[in-house]
């Protein structure tokens, strides 16, 4: 069973986790392996908390990942990364976008934004890499490509050749947005969290 790579992508509805997980599936398909992906549409997409799960291996049965068995957690937003931190296995890696999106429960004053979020993230996750994906996307000129920055960052941890990633992106991104999406992917892929600030 351990020859399966479990990836969970978490974030806020509208951040583009669905496209990112779809691209992963295509890259895996091109690499000739088996893959399953699971996600939820409908209610969850209205700014709610979202999760998409991808499993890669020689033969994959379950479309869902057991709690505590995620190898790579891709967190598109900080609070959501902490919410789902328990999904990670003890050796798992979390790639976390430093972006913060306040839920309406906080903005309306019903609950408090955790002031010690960074510390709690570090406490909950042993292998944590912080990725300033929103900053990178802003520098590229379109905040919507945050998802491709995060995908690029993920790609460093998955044994799939760069050409296959690019081919998958080409298949799934609309031609008019292809250039900036590839730039975003490359920026995420080349970003080194060890040498950052």
């Amino acid at each position: 069973m351990k020859d399966i790579l479990n990836i969970s992508l978490v974030g806020v509805g509208g951040q583009g986790t669905l496209l990112a997980s779809e691209i992963i599936c295509y890259a895996v398909l091109l690499a000739g392996k088996d893959v399953k992906k699971s996600e939820v549409h409908g209610m969850a997409q209205r700014g709610g908390s979202v999760i998409s799960q991808v499993r890669i291996g020689a033969k994959v049965y379950s479309p869902l990942i057991a709690t505590g068995e995620t190898d790579i957690l891709v967190g598109f937003e900080k609070l959501e990364s902490l919410r789902y931190a328990h999904l990670l296995s003890s050796n798992g890696i979390a790639l976390v976008n430093t972006q913060e999106i306040k839920p309406v429960t906080v903005s309306s004053g019903q609950s408090e934004w955790p002031s010690d979020l960074d510390d709690r993230l570090r406490g909950a996750i042993r292998h944590l890499e912080l990725i300033p994906a929103l900053d990178i996307a802003q520098q590229l000129g379109d905040i919507r490509v945050v998802n491709l920055v995060m995908l690029g960052s993920l790609s460093r941890h998955v044994e799939i050749g760069e050409q296959l990633w690019l081919q998958a992106i080409e298949q799934l991104v609309k031609p008019q947005f292809l250039d900036i999406n590839i730039q975003a992917f490359e920026s995420g892929r080349s970003f080194d969290p060890q040498n950052a600030r």
Partner: protein, 603 residues
Amino acid sequence: MNGKLAGSRRILSGNEAIALAAWASGVRVAAGYPGTPSTEILENIATFPEIYCEWSVNEKVALEVAIGASFAGARALATMKHVGLNVALDPLMTFAYIGANGGLVIVSADDPGMHSSQNEQDSRTLAKFARIPVLEPADSQECFEMVRVAYDISEEFELPVIIRTTTRISHSSGVVEIGNCERKTQQDRHYTKDIARTVMVPIFARGRRLVLEEKLQKLREFSQEFAEHRVEEPEFSEGSRPRVGVITAGVAYTYVKEFVTNARILKLGMSFPLPEKLIREFAASVDRLYVVEEGDAFVEEQILAMGLHVEQPKTSLRIGELTPDRLKRFAAEIEGRQPQTVPQPVKDLPARPPVLCPGCAHRSVFYALNRLKATVLGDIGCYSLGAFQPLYAMDSIVCMGASIGNAHGMEKAGYESKRIAAVIGDSTFFHSGITGLLNTVYNKGTSTVIVLDNRTTAMTGHQEHPGTGRTLKGEETVEARVEDVARGVGVNHVVPIDPYDLDNTYNVLRQELDRAEPSVVVSRRECALRCRKVAACKFVVRDDLCRACGACLRLGCPAIETGDVDPSDPRKRKVRINSVLCAGCGMCVQVCKFGAIQKVAEE
């Protein structure tokens, strides 16, 4: 369809696989109504020019359209979510007597765990209720195979066939080997007038009832040899005889395969009618027999009715969605191991519920209803989000179209609130609100029906409906107007409003709620998700003018955030506007009495 990559291996969701297989099966007519998790089937079918397909106004009509196509001899498909099958149940129950001419398959997508539904009923029970076969694919590959098998069964036995998926089948994707996928070119079956078969008056229906029983008996025999049932031996077996046997179907099979490694497995492809002989043999081959299925104890109860013993694990596999965690605990139990402790989520984090989108115009209706202290009977759609704080302006949600009848009933029961409103979306109104409205008028009700017309079926991902003037295929058609329908059923007071105008919205709603006659208010503005920015402008909060009164926060707009503590009162927080989320609708400007929210030149 995401079949963009060449070659025979594709990444397909269950819904995409069903659509492709329907095309390959030679389906000529497909109809449905959007509903998570079934919606993408028809959206994908719409990409095939060979198939006539439509969003019908509701599931009942969709099935009736499919039945008509089957009468005519064509292969037909009807798609819906589980609760949609309730709406379509009336034609289904009698069509089972009549039987299919052209093959007819109904896909009913269940939503265990209620990710996006109001209940978690199990469609398989309705298949048995109608006495028709139900097939359960376990992944996208099986969706692709079983649709084609379903059409063959439908035509061989002249019965409609239900394919039951669940959320993790419909919305999971996987690699599908589609082989040499070509569209089946078969002649439509011939239509011959035969009223004893198709006119279900009592004299003929009595005869067809017996025919249905004969078909069911033949199907039971067929199920014994059905190729989609299979027995799989355990990976690890102690001794010559496996001690544990698991009977499973659907997505549950994939969890069993992954987590229960030492059991013999009987994987069912058809869960009604069951292969009794095969099940008895399987039961006799193991010491302990378990049934693992997602949803009700549908297969299990049938096996119990055979007089076989089924073990009842302590680990609950009922209620809610099956998950790997539950199956791991189950596996540990039956193998006599201590279950691993499951890591628990971090506590005390602020919840992130789904919310009405920034810029959603219809927010103002709930804002006004809250201020008017109205009793609001709600309906199915994104506007169900108006039920929560801070808008908190909805008292009930039952089913599609229920709001109008519910409002009428409360009024007739003498409920003291003078302000009773029904709130319903445009697509829901056309789906099943019209009959309720006619009923209110006919029976001298006085309730106010507010139609939130966002020009689309929003919650399921923007599908067309009769009010949009476009078909599923994107063709222009007659645009049904809510106002015309309302007047047509006899409503004299029909008032369209622009919900971005807060004062007018409040005034009109108050006037119509207080009116002792039925009235319809049409709140009309396009879904904010469709027009990425409502207006190309930005708003900022002037810190010097903001009094931290919190009035704007009562709109529940995700783009309005609490900011710094007000120096004059530490309990108060001033607000700021998140420019990334702000859609530029300007509703908040209208609620600020201090003029603190101001428009700035666009970037």
